[in-house]
């Protein structure tokens, strides 16, 4: 596949943006192309990314693989305690994810079943509504993004998120315990963060921009295909739409009106 100048600049612009994290760097390397490259960060306009998680086939092995792949991909350190832990995608018990649904006669199978959870990339995200600096915002393709270089660390978004999807760097992630993070940072192509900023899942914006699947989906696929399905809700023929058409699906806390874009087939 050939790459024309425009596409090259898109990728160059994006990777510079991610690596150097500054408008200045892009302006020096590709003057005037920043706006163009920012605009084309979504794979294409008018899309709406979503994830369908098929709980009938998901097991703890796959969930752990997803978490490990994601946290390596994004240089998420193990800080060594739950108080200040940082997590982008992780497993949690059914009763904690769907609190209102739990009842004492539920089958043991569901009661103790782990679900995989991450940022829901809500269509109507309260986190973006409350952010005082637009450090977290929604792209036109639905991805709820996080600019860790603009975030002032007020943590309003953490209070606003009804899904507990956001983590705060209480300490310096680059100084996380070495014995727990022997090869930190595991992915030199992804920026590490400073202390005092909020972070969360971005649906692997940096990967979907290159036409790749999110790291968790890729990790799940190597164990079992079609357990995590990622795709475009606006396209009626996409795999996510097909999965949602063919199966009964639920979302977390739909009554709050945030319109989550992570669906569970149960």
């Amino acid at each position: 596949m050939g790459m024309d100048r425009r596409n090259f600049l898109k990728v160059a612009g994006l990777s510079t943006l991610l690596a150097a994290g500054g408008k200045a760097a892009v302006d020096i390397l590709a003057p005037g192309d920043l706006e163009a490259s920012m605009k084309s960060v979504p794979l294409s306009e008018g899309k709406r990314w979503a994830m369908v998680i098929d709980m009938r086939h998901l097991n703890e092995e796959i969930m752990d693989a997803c978490t490990a792949a994601c946290h390596r991909e994004h240089n998420v350190p193990d800080v060594g305690n739950t108080k200040n832990e940082i997590k982008w995608i992780w497993k949690e018990k059914y009763e904690h994810i769907f609190p209102g649904q739990q009842h004492e006669y539920a089958s043991e199978k569901y009661k103790d079943q782990f679900f995989l959870i991450t940022c829901n990339h809500c269509t109507n995200p309260p986190c973006c509504r409350v952010c005082p600096t637009r450090a977290t915002w929604q792209r036109s393709d639905g991805v709820v993004m996080m600019d860790m270089h603009r975030c002032i660390g007020c943590r309003f978004c953490m209070a606003a998120c009804p899904f507990g999807a956001r983590s705060f760097n209480y300490g310096d992630p680059r100084k996380a315990p070495e014995d727990l993070n022997p090869d930190f940072p595991p992915n030199p192509d992804y920026p590490t963060r400073s202390k005092g900023v909020v972070e969360k899942c971005t649906f692997c914006a940096e990967r979907i921009a290159k036409g790749m699947m999110p790291a968790c989906v890729e990790a799940a696929d190597t164990i079992k295909e079609d357990v995590l399905i990622f795709g475009d809700l606006s396209n009626p023929d996409s795999r996510v739409r097909k999965a949602l058409r063919a199966n009964y699906s639920i979302r977390r806390k739909p009554e709050l009106g945030t319109e989550p874009n992570v669906f569970y087939i149960v």
């Binding site: 609190p99 509504r129 005082p132 899904f163 507990g164």
Partner: protein, 385 residues
């Protein structure tokens, strides 16, 4: 007029020095937090706001409470309050200063604070809070200073100051309304998601602000030659009484809705706060202390004889302070995070550096308050008011 703050008795200087010492301790604790990050606090992934934001919320109330002397004087022409409006305004200045400092020390990335101005975001309530708090600070500094200098020169203040005074009255209501909106507009935090939040905030503000002002008036009368006046204190006591009764009433309304409807999400935080859940009960003794002091305050303030007697009024005001401080300065913010979105309980308790910083900010507030009150009282003494 600043020179007035530079001449004082030994007692005055010792007080100033002790405040500076506490401020220094707070400053060094802050340097430590700045270097290590907020992990030195008791905050966690689940309880992401704690003592700092709670103090901020409480002090916005104290600042707004200042309007309870300004409004009767300027809108209702209640002449007696003319003697003490300056004290209400300067109390507001000190309280807002502390509010801004508490926001600042809570930030994970304080060096980026100007991003709030560089990327103004009107859909964020925090943006509006920044505007109303800073606006209220400047209004009170400008108004207080001008009115006081005019009084010192034996003149009437200029007419444009009057315009600012009229603006400052609704502005006072706005600071606590906007602060309530920080919490009341968030989906999924049941304890905060209540339409009566702003009203509750204002009621608690108009009780705690004037209660602190009464205590300050008594201190001023005891240690200086300026007497804020018996009638003034009596009227303030009436205001505290009405506002505090409303505050308790609003809280009972919350309890009714939660426990008569029996909706679990609405009851959980109250259960955590007053009886504890699954063995987590850090705040239970505090909440019952707050409840006890509420009852004491209600009795001492409602019974006319004890409201009029200075010793019992003082005790009543202290009781109002304790109960509103626990309610807003501890329980409201932390309670909103418990249980967390997974209906699990992670408790919170401030650490030593966190308390050091908190004390440092309070000391800074008292420093500002002392200097401003010293100036105001010296001018009053000079003109023989």
């Amino acid at each position: 007029m600043l020179d007035k703050a530079l001449r004082g008795s030994n007692r005055y200087w010792w007080w100033i020095l002790s405040l500076l010492a506490v401020m220094a301790i707070g400053f060094f604790c802050y340097l430590y937090q700045f270097k290590m990050g907020l992990k030195v606090t008791g905050l966690s992934r689940d309880v992401s706001w704690g003592f700092y934001i709670a103090q901020f919320t409480y002090l916005v109330g104290v600042a707004a409470g200042g309007v309870m002397v300004v409004m009767p004087y300027y809108l209702h022409d209640y002449k007696a309050f003319g003697r003490i409006t300056i004290l209400g305004e300067f109390l507001a200045v000190a309280a807002v200063t502390m509010c801004l400092l508490f926001i600042f020390v809570d930030l994970g990335n304080p060096v980026r604070i100007m991003n709030v101005i560089m990327y103004p975001t009107p859909n964020s309530i925090l943006f509006w809070d920044m505007i109303v708090l800073n606006g209220y600070l400047f209004l009170n500094i400008i108004i207080g200073w001008n009115v006081l200098s005019a009084e010192r020169k034996g003149m009437k203040y200029q007419s444009w100051v009057k315009v600012l005074i009229y603006i400052s009255i609704p502005w006072a209501f706005s600071i606590h309304t906007v602060t309530a909106f920080l919490y009341a507009g968030i989906p999924g935090r049941h304890y905060w998601l209540t339409a009566i939040m702003a009203a509750r905030f204002l009621a608690s503000a108009f009780a705690s602000g004037p209660a602190i002002l009464i205590l300050l008036c008594l201190v001023v009368r005891r240690y200086t030659r300026f007497n804020p006046g018996r009638e003034q204190i009596g009227t303030l006591a009436g205001i505290v009484t009405y506002a505090f009764v409303l505050n308790v009433f609003f809280f009972l309304l919350e309890l009714f809705t939660a426990f008569y409807s029996q909706i679990p999400g609405h009851m959980h935080t109250f259960e955590y706060l007053f009886v504890g859940v699954h063995g987590h009960n850090n705040l239970v003794p505090w909440m019952w202390t707050a409840a006890l002091f509420s009852v004491i305050a209600l009795v001492l303030l409602i019974v006319p004889a004890s409201r009029r007697r200075e010793s019992t009024l003082t005790a009543g005001c202290i009781a109002v302070f304790i109960s509103t401080w626990i309610d807003k300065g501890m329980a409201l913010v932390v309670g909103g995070f418990i249980p967390n979105p997974f209906e699990k309980v992670t408790e919170y308790w401030p650490t030593a550096p966190e308390l050091g910083i908190t004390l440092g900010v309070w000391a800074t507030g008292f420093f500002v308050l002392t200097v401003l009150f010293k100036i105001a009282v010296s001018v009053k003494e000079e003109v023989g008011a």
